[in-house]
Symmetry: none
Subunit: 248 residues, 6 copies
C-alpha cells in the first residue's frame, strides 16, 4: 500500500504524514500503559518497558501506529518502595480515557491498550466499555502476563508473579541494561498469607500462587519468552481485528 | 561521590539503586511535560522531544534524575489538525500534580517541570504552588522558549512562534528524523489578527508577533540554538537550586 | 382462598382488585429485568423474554403477582451490535431501586428479581441489600442461567454461554418466533483470550469456558430445559419464601 | 421494499435482521412510555396498554419499529392508591433519556415517544430537546388524549379526564379484559376545586374541567374512539416525518 | 527493655506512659474491627469478641498495643435478624480510616486490623492502601478465618461458614458465656443456591461451600482451635513485621 | 417479667434471646460514646470508661440494654498529646447517627447516648433531632459532668474541669488501674485566659472556671461521687422515659 507510514511511531510523524495514513492506511493505534514501581531486580520502569517492547515488535504485522506511553499508573501495595510512584484510580481513569478518546477523535477507530501493570486492569476495562459508548471506538485491553501464562510455563516450567519469572525474563530480553542480577536475593520474594492485605507489601517480588516462580537469569530462555509473548499478542490482536472487521 | 547513580534515567534504576541515591546523592528530578500536536513540518511529538533533549543534556551538571515524560497535555487551537490530541485542563492538572506529589513522596524535594507546550503553562503554575502547600516540595516550571527568546534572536535574528524558528531548530538538532523540510510551504504559517481567538487555528505554524520567524533549516544554526538553550536552562536551574539551598 | 387474584399480572388488575389481594392473599411480586442486546440468532429481547416466560410459569405455584418487565439494562461488551441498547450502571440502579421500593410501598414485602442479563447482576445485588436497609423489604435476585447450570448440563451435556446453548434453548421453547436458526453460523461464537477486555466483543455468542456450548436447535431438548429451569426456579423461590417465613 | 422487517417489534428481531432494516428501511422507532397507576375501573397498567395499542396500529403505516415499553413513570396525585407505583422525576428523565439516546446510537434518527401518562409530559419535553442537542436525533413526544380531545368529543359529546371517558374507552377497545365495569360507582370521580393541589387525590377518576366526562361502557363507541385516535396519531406522525424530511 | 508498657491496652495508659513507650518501645497497634450481627447460637458481638481475644493473646509476643475495638461494621445479608446493626460502607470506610490515620499521627507507624467480619474486608483493603499513600503508615488487615482455614480443617475436619464451625468454636473458647448451645437447630443453617442474592439471608448460619461445617460444641476442640488460630496469627504478624523492618 | 434478658449487654445475647426481649421487655438502649484523649493522670480511655461504668450501674433500674461503646470521638484541643486520637466532626456524626438509626431499625424506640466527652456534644444534639425526624426514635444525650455539677460540688466543694476533680474521681472509683496518682503535678493544669482559643492546649488538665478543681485522690470521695452521679443519671433517665410514655 502506497500509504504505509514512514515510521510506526505517531510522535515522529508530521501532521501531513499522519493525514495521509490515518484512517486510510490504518485506523489502529497501540497505546502502552504502565506504571513506575519497584520490581525485584529490574528497573522501576519495567511495566512501561515491556509493553513498549511488545508494541515495537507487533506494530508492523498488525498494521498499527504506536502512541507515546502513559508511564504513570495505579501503584498500590509496592508504593512504599524507593522510587515507586502512583496516581489515584480516579485520576488515572480520567487521564487515560481522555487520551484514548482524543486518539479516537483524530481518526483511530481501534485502540489497543498494551498494559504492563496489574493495578491498571480494572480501570482499563471500564475505559474500554466507555470508549464504545461515548466514542464508538473499538478497544482491546491486554494484560500480556495473563494472556501468555502458558508461554511462561512452556519456557520456564512455572508461572510468573510480580517482578518474578515472566517480568524479569521480558526485561532481560528487551532492555538488559535495566536488570541487576547481582542484586538478586531469594528473600526479595514474598508470598502473602491468605486472608491478608499488607500495605506496603514486604517483598518486591510477589508470588501469587505456590507455583509462581522466582527470576531465572538465563538470556536464552528470556529471548524465547519475548518471542513467544510477542507472537501470542500479535496473533491475538490480529484475530480480534479480523473479528471486528466482520461487524464494522 | 560514591553514590552517583549508574544512569540518570529513573526508570532504568532498580529500587535498590534508587534507594542508594535518593535523597542522599540528589533529591532533584527533571520531569518533561509536553503534548502531541501538529507543528509545521516537525513531528507530532515535538513538544515532548525538546524537553527530553534538554533533560538529557542538563541532568548531569544540575545533578538530577530524569523521570519518564508525561506526553499528553492540553492542546487547544491546533486540536483540529490530523494527529493532534488533548486532555482537559482539569484532568491534566490532576494527573500531573499527583505524579509530582508521588515523586515528592518517594524522596525528591525538588521537581523541575521541563515544559514543551504553551497550553500547559497555566496549569503547571498552579501545580507548583500546590506542591509546596501540600507536600513542602520545591518546584520550578520552565518554558524554554520564553526563557531563551534572547538565544533564538542571537542565532536567527528573530524570535520563534509555534512550529517556527525555535521549535524547528531544536528538533533539527535533537531528533532530525522528525523533520520533513520538504513539506515546508510558507503558507503553513498564519499570524492571527490582534483581538481574535480562532479555533481551530488556520495554520500549523503560529506567528505571535510581527517579528516571529519562519523555520530555518540550517543544521549549524540548529546546533548552536540547542547548545545555547541547554546552557541557559542549566544555568537557570543551578541558580534556582542555589537560592533554594539558602532557605531550606 | 377467596382472595385469589383474577389474574397474576399486576397491570391487568384494577386498584380495587389489587386492594383485595395485596398483602392479604400475597405480598410477593416477580419483577423480570433484562436488556435489549444482540444474541447469536435469537431476538434482541431474549433477556426479557426468558424471565417473562419463567414468571408466567411460576407465579401461580409460588403465589406471587407479576409486575411489568424492566426491559432496558446494562449492556456492555455487545453494545456495538445492531439493535443493542444500554443505560449507564448508575441510572439502572436508581431506576430499578425506585421501582422496587415503590412496589414495597404499595404492599409487597417480598420482591423477586428474575434477571435475564449478566450485566445487571452487580447492581441487583446492591439493590437487594438496600431494599432491606431502607424499606425493610425482602428480596431475591436470581440469575437463572447460573442457578440452573446443572439443568443445562443434564439436557445438553455442557453449559451455556451468552447466546449459546441455554439461552437459545429457552427462547426456542418460550417464544420460537424469536429464533432464526437459519442464520446460525459457528463463527458467531467467540471465546475471549485470557487477560483481555474487548469492546465491542467480536462475536454475538460468548463462550466463557472451553466447555461452554454452541446452540442446539432441537425443540424437544429446549422444552425439557424450560421445564427443568422453571421447576428449579420455582423450588428455589418456594424454599427461600419458606425460610423467610420463619424469620418474619 | 425488500428490506421490510419480518416483524415491527424490535425485540423479536435478531441483530442480523435489525442490521438489514435499520437505518436503510426505516430509522424511526416508536417508544411507548406510561406508568403503573390506579384508574377508575381499568387496570393499573392502563397508561402502558393504550400507547402499546396505538403503536401496534400505526407502526406499519408510519414505517417504524416498536421498542419495548418503559412501564414505570412519574405517578403523583394517585400514588396512594393500592397498586400505584412511581419513580422520581429525575430518575425517570435519566432512564428514558439514556434509553432513547441508545436507540439513536444504534441507528434510529427519529424517536416517537407515545406517552400514556400526563405525569411524564414535562420530562419527555426536556428529553426531546436534549436528544437533538446531544445526539442529533429527531424526536416527537405525543400525549394522545390531548392531541385527540376533538375525537373524544366527537364520539362521546364531551372530553375525558383521568380514568374517565377517553381512557376507559380506549382500554375497552384495546384490552377489554382489563376493565371491570361492575366496579364502577360515580363517586370514584372527583373534580378538584380550582386553585387546589390535593395529595393524595381523593378519587381515582379525575375530572379536570366541568365538561369532562365519566366512563361510558359502550363497546361500539370505544371501538370508534380507538379508530379515531389511531388515525389522528398516525396522520400526525406522518406529517411530522414529512416535514422533518425537508430539513434533514 | 525498660520501656515495656505497664499494660498492652492503650486506653488504660496515661498520656505520660504512652509518651514513654510509643514509638520507642513499640510503634505497632492492634485494632480489632467487627460488627454487631446475628450468628447461629453465639452472641451478637461475636465478630468483635473473636478479634479481641486474638489481640489479647498476641499483643505481648508481637510487641504491640491494643486500641479500643471499632464495634459497628458493614452488615449486609443478615441485617434483618433481631439485634443486627449496620453502617453504610462509605461511612465505615471514613470512620475507620480516620481512626487509623489518627493512630498513625500519634506515633504508630504500623497498624494491624484484626478483622472479625467478612463484610468489612473490601473497605479495609482500600484503607490499607490509603494509609500508606496519605500517612506513610504500614498496615496489615487480617481475616483470621481465611488465614486459618487450614487450622479449622485440622481441628474439625472441615471448614467454617458464618456462625458455623470456626466462629462458634472460637467463641466457645474465648467467651463461653456468649454461646447458647441449647438453641442450636440444624435448620439455622442455609446454603445459598448458586446465582442468587437473598436479602435478608434466610439462615443465621451461612454455609458457603458444600464442605462448610455446622457448629461443634466440644470445648476441647474449641480450645485447640483458639490456640492454633492465635499461633498462626501471631506468626503471620511477626513475619510481616520482620519483612517490613527490612524495607523501613 | 418472664422476658427479662439474661444479660444487659446486647453483644452477649444471641439473636434469639434478643428477639424475645426487644421490644417486648424493653425498647431502650444505652449507647456509651467517648473518645481516646489525654487526661491529667487518668488513662487515655477515660471518656469511654466513665459512661461504661454508669451504663453498667443503671441498665437494670432503667430497664435498658447496653450497646457496645463507640470509642473514637471528636478530640480537639488535646489532640497533640501523646496517645490522643480524633475523627472529623462530619465523620463522627455520620457514624454515630447510622449506628443509632440501625439500633432503632432493630427494635429500639429509645436511645440514650451516655456521652463521656465534651467535644461530641454538639454533634450528638444534631443526631438526636435527626433520629426522630428520620426514624421516629426517641433519644436522650446526656453529658454526665454537666448534669451532675451539683453532685461534684457536694462531694468536693468545687466543680470539675477536664481531667480534673470529677473525671479523676469517677475513674478512681470505676477503674482504679487507670489512674497514676504518682504522675500528678499541679502544673499539668492550665486555666485558659478568657477570650482565647489555644490549639494545642498547653495542659492536660483544663480548668474552665476559676472555681474548677484539681484532682483529689481520696478513694472514699471518689466512691461517693460515682454513687451520686449514677443516682442522678438514673433518676433523670427514668423521668424522661416516664414523660415520653405519656406522649407515645
Amino acid at each position: 500500500m502506497k500509504n504505509t507510514p514512514r515510521t510506526r511511531r505517531l510522535a515522529e510523524l508530521t501532521w501531513q504524514e499522519f493525514r495521509d495514513v490515518v484512517p486510510q492506511a490504518t485506523d489502529a493505534v497501540l497505546l502502552p500503559v504502565g506504571t513506575v514501581e519497584a520490581h525485584g531486580v529490574t528497573g522501576l520502569g519495567t511495566d512501561n518497558t515491556i509493553p513498549e517492547a511488545i508494541a515495537a515488535r507487533i506494530a508492523e504485522p498488525v498494521n498499527a501506529l504506536i502512541a507515546p506511553t502513559i508511564p504513570y499508573g495505579i501503584t498500590r501495595s509496592l508504593l512504599a518502595y524507593p522510587g515507586s510512584t502512583s496516581v489515584s484510580p480516579e485520576t488515572f481513569e480520567r487521564y487515560v480515557f481522555e487520551v484514548a478518546a482524543s486518539l479516537a477523535d483524530t481518526g483511530f477507530r481501534r485502540v489497543v491498550f498494551l498494559n504492563g501493570h496489574g493495578g491498571n486492569t480494572g480501570q482499563l476495562k471500564d475505559i474500554c466499555f466507555r470508549l464504545y459508548r461515548e466514542k464508538k471506538a473499538y478497544s482491546l485491553a491486554l494484560d500480556w502476563w495473563v494472556l501468555c501464562a502458558e508461554e511462561t510455563r512452556t519456557v520456564y516450567g512455572h508461572e510468573g508473579g510480580h517482578g518474578g519469572t515472566d517480568e524479569t525474563g521480558m526485561v532481560i530480553a528487551a532492555t538488559p541494561e535495566m536488570v541487576r542480577a547481582d542484586e538478586y536475593r531469594p528473600d526479595l520474594a514474598f508470598q502473602a498469607p491468605p486472608g491478608t492485605t499488607i500495605s506496603p507489601y514486604p517483598g518486591s517480588i510477589i508470588l501469587y500462587d505456590s507455583d509462581d516462580g522466582l527470576p531465572d537469569f538465563d538470556p536464552d530462555k528470556a529471548g524465547r519468552l519475548l518471542d513467544a509473548v510477542c507472537s501470542k499478542v500479535e496473533a491475538t490482536v490480529i484475530e480480534v481485528f479480523r473479528r471486528w472487521q466482520e461487524i464494522r
